[in-house]
Symmetry: C2
Subunit: 317 residues, 2 copies
């Protein structure tokens, strides 16, 4: 860091989800400081007022920079959040998303909350997201060629969101339950015992992906039990079984998406995966296994770029 | 019940699984008395000796009928059981299964434990069962035409077992994880909240089955989230969502099995589902939705018929 005039903060932005409040003090897109507070689950359990939790997390930022309001995305805008922010129907572009923010002032704190999105997905049923829309806006800011033509962007996590972009508009999206499935099976099934090793056992992961590709995603109800039978009869270690199951599940989602969601953008040269390094690397690896190109964008960088893009689109009030 | 000579007990048989020990005192195939004791999970937790738990459950049966040994099936023969009974490799017929029982005498109690089965399944990987093999023997005894030609028998439960019978031999089988998936998602996901109503909401169940048939089992990673989005945006009640999810999962398994396992027996006029009434009715209903015939056999009746068939095949020692 060079000495000199300290950067002047231009925004307080944050993602307030079920597990955490992540707050950032920014100068442009650069993060000056970051703080973490309680998620919505904790707020619901303790019945702490939202404004109190926000004030305790932001601390001296509010008194040091009294002109800065905050821009927040995530479940904070759900019906169990600070205030309910109605879903915006797709197709939508970043400008309309920014215009649909809901503002509130509580105990002297000025907050704008980014709405979630609703659509009819590729299976012709309603689908929703809250938080990922902001990461999509950020990905468009970080990689402007994403705004050209029809593109697929995937945001893996507890729920994976596969969105179709059309000339920079979010046309529609579909939710995959893979992350939550993995978590539920890891903790509450006979498939896995003991701890996984740190990192990814790529041999075991690739074996799982290969099984889903070979057998087809439709065989997933039967493929899952292989995680156990290979430990009982195939010499697989309990530790490798974690990544084998991860490969089976992510592989099935990739095969399924490759044959459905991705056909919405047949001319797109690659899919962009946005999220935490470990998980996007797994998705990109499985995507390569079906012969498709993938690029990745860090999830926090996308969230920050999206929040700051939306914050800058907002007319000062 | 007619007065007269009380029936003479001919066997003590039982299913000793993870959750329960279920013991039956029988005269031929008729149950004279039944008792319930601790499952293997409880035995492991309390470190109670198996012979003590068995003696406390059987009680006066042992002193009143000292000539009767017991025939047991289930996880009691696993490596965490009373004694480990090696898997028998398929193909196998009831006679070879009976001959492979492992006998033990502990504290004066004589017990024979039915082995589990191992095979290479329709996806060309190892598969295993313990307990269901005895129900298959029972189904063959209760419905002798099952022993003619190639037949599919399915035993749904926590794990569903789809077995191919060939002239009364168990050729191979495949395990579906649907029951465990439903349990894990019911208790540990955002899909369901609150209690299900008693019984089956058949409209909601059928809607789930229809979605898996229409979209295809390969879309399951995306279909599951519909359970939530239909509650948020489609007016589905929290109670109906339980049976919708059940329909999605059972529907996906049925579609998947119909296109794979069942093609092993293309001339079979129907599949036999063996298990508890609520669950086999759901499977038969979903099977009818793909245009296939199904019959059902009560799971306890099949277990009893299997245990008594195996017990009668056993030379007295």
């Amino acid at each position: 860091m060079t000495l000199g005039t300290p950067p002047v903060p231009t925004s307080i932005v944050g993602d307030w989800g079920t597990s955490h409040l992540r707050l950032f003090l920014c100068a442009g897109d650069a993060v000056i400081d970051r703080r973490r507070g309680p998620g919505l689950a904790s707020i619901a359990a303790t019945r702490q007022p939202f404004e109190q939790a926000f004030r305790e997390t932001a601390g001296n930022w509010l008194s040091d920079h009294p002109c800065l309001g905050a821009t927040l995305c995530g479940m904070v805008g759900a019906n169990v959040g600070w205030t309910e922010v109605p879903y915006v129907e797709c197709p939508v572009d970043p400008g309309r998303l920014a215009a649909a923010q809901v503002r509130l002032t509580a105990a002297g704190i000025r907050v704008a909350i980014v709405p979630g999105l609703a659509c009819i997905n590729h299976l012709s049923v309603p689908d929703v997201m809250r938080g990922e829309e902001t990461q999509i806006v950020g990905a468009l800011a970080l990689d402007p060629k994403l705004a050209l033509g029809r593109r697929i962007i995937c945001l893996p996590g507890t729920h994976s969101k596969w969105a179709l972009l059309n000339d920079g508009m979010i046309e529609r999206f579909t939710t995959g339950l893979t992350g939550e499935l993995f978590g539920a099976l890891r903790q509450h099934s006979i498939l896995l015992h003991g701890a996984a090793t740190d990192g990814c056992d790529t041999d075991a992961f690739d074996a799982g992906v290969t099984r889903s590709i070979e057998a087809g995603a439709a065989q997933l109800p039967f493929l899952l039990f292989e995680t156990r039978s290979r430990q009982l009869r195939g010499g697989m270690t309990a530790s490798a079984a974690h990544d084998f199951l991860s490969g089976l599940l992510i592989g099935a989602e990739i095969v399924s998406a490759g044959a459905s969601v991705c056909s919405d953008a047949p001319t797109s040269d690659s899919v962009v995966f946005v999220g935490e390094a470990d998980i996007v690397d797994r998705y990109a690896r499985a995507f390569a296994a079906i012969g498709r190109n993938a690029t990745t964008i860090d999830g926090e960088a996308a969230a920050l770029a999206g929040l700051n893009t939306i914050q800058r689109m907002t007319t000062c009030s």
